[in-house]
Amino acid sequence: MQISLTINGSKHTLDVEPRLLLVHLIRENLNLTGTHIGCDTTTCGACTILMDGKSVKSCTILAVQADGKSITTIEGVNNADGSINHLQEGFKENHGLHCGFCTPGMIMRATELLANNPDPTEDEIRWGISGNLCRCTGYNNIVKAIKYASAKNRGVEPASTEPQFV
């Protein structure tokens, strides 16, 4: 089947098998390997992308269902000048990642979370990323990273990025 879709701003027309999963189209056909696969039950969220601005798990969408849609992956979130955006910066500055495997999915999910809720509480962030598993960080610093980006987006000084100890 022929489909056309926009990925990270550029248009692609491809001929695909109906059963091709969107995540495989992104990773294999388009070589955008920042979107990862971590499970087979739509649980882990490593494959999260934006489809028409909504965060979705690309392992559970067929490529043909993305026909005519606009997709954003981790490779498409940098600022126009190529610099990293506030969320990416938040993860880096607050040690919001260890192995980095869940990070693209986390950032894509957090992108929509902040779009809908620019100043989320800790509880809202935790529930907001409950479809993304991280095995490394214990989530504390992911919450902190998203709060950092929220503050920066709103022009507010973010909390210190130094680790806080008891």
């Binding site: 109906p18 059963r19 087979d40 559970t60 969408i61 067929l62 043909v64 979370l113 479809g131």
Partner: protein
């Protein structure tokens, strides 16, 4: 995990979709949100030869009020239910239930129609719709037919939808004054299916007497279950410790869960009782 090959159809209209269903019979499956079906296809537990994607059909994604009823299109996403002003105003039970369904990404895709049409007693909307006395609109070759929710769920994964029909809309009566609703499920972790879940809707008159009650249970029966004796325990009576305890006891007695990784049947029955009590109190507090 990769599905078996299939032919993909994306009809633009309901008649077109019904035509495809008639043509392919049980070799076809409808896909809407796809978050129950596609994982099963990836494990090859479902191997349809034809997949009929109804997402391109217009007119199935509305939430509006007509003729004293709330109409919800079958393709409305869980996330839209979660954040709908209309539903929040009349039935806060919807934000209760959607927050506990899977996770935000899944709710961006999953549809309320799919949640019901799947006929899974572990899904959460069936109990809510039972509690709210919803009517399910099913469309087939001969047009639409309205099925009361109590006649919708048949058996294990079975519903009133025939092979060549599509669930197109859900209709819910607007609540009378002094109505409250609430839903909660105990789950092992966020996004899990219910260990047990309870939906409650009650209406009280000025004197505090219960004039309408809807109580239904998730994942404690082969089919979504209305707790009839529990409802009757409240009807015509004030909501007090005594009536609540009776309603809780009846629900606990009348459900028939099974032992699994979530706990023993006895535990689940106990949870049903606890949640019936808590949800009646919560619904009452919302009046």
């Amino acid at each position: 995990m990769i599905p078996q090959a299939f032919d993909y159809h994306a009809p633009g209209t309901i008649p077109e979709a019904i035509g495809l269903l008639k043509k392919y019979g049980d070799a076809a499956k409808i896909i809407s949100g796809g978050h129950s079906l596609l994982p099963m296809m990836k494990f090859r537990l479902a191997t349809p030869e034809h997949l009929i994607d109804i997402n391109n059909i217009q007119g199935l994604n509305h939430i509006d009020i007509r003729d004293g009823e709330i109409h919800i299109g079958a393709l409305v996403r869980e996330a839209e239910i979660e954040h709908s002003d209309i539903l929040a105003k009349y039935y806060p039970i919807f934000s209760d239930v959607t927050k506990q369904i899977a996770d935000p990404q899944v709710r961006n895709r999953g549809t309320v129609g799919g949640n019901l049409a799947h006929g899974d007693a572990a899904n959460d909307h069936p109990a809510v719709m039972l509690a709210l006395n919803a009517t399910i609109i099913i469309t087939g070759e001969g047009g639409k037919r309205a099925v009361p929710i109590d006649e919708f769920f048949f058996g294990f994964y079975q519903t009133a939808i025939a092979e060549d029909e599509i669930l197109t809309e859900i209709q819910i009566p607007l609540p009378p004054a002094r109505t409250g609703s609430a839903y909660h499920k105990e789950e092992r972790k966020v996004g899990d299916y219910a260990t047990a879940g309870v939906a409650v809707k009650i209406t009280l008159n000025e004197d505090g007497i219960c004039t309408a009650a809807g109580i239904a249970l998730t994942n404690v029966n082969a089919t979504p279950l209305r707790a009839v004796r529990s409802e009757n325990a409240l009807l015509g009576k004030p909501i007090n410790d005594e009536t609540i305890a009776l309603a809780a006891r009846y629900a606990s007695e009348d459900c028939s869960p099974s032992d699994d990784l979530r706990g023993s049947a006895e535990y689940k029955k106990h949870i049903v009782g606890v949640l019936v009590k808590r949800m009646i109190q919560k619904a009452k507090s919302r009046i």
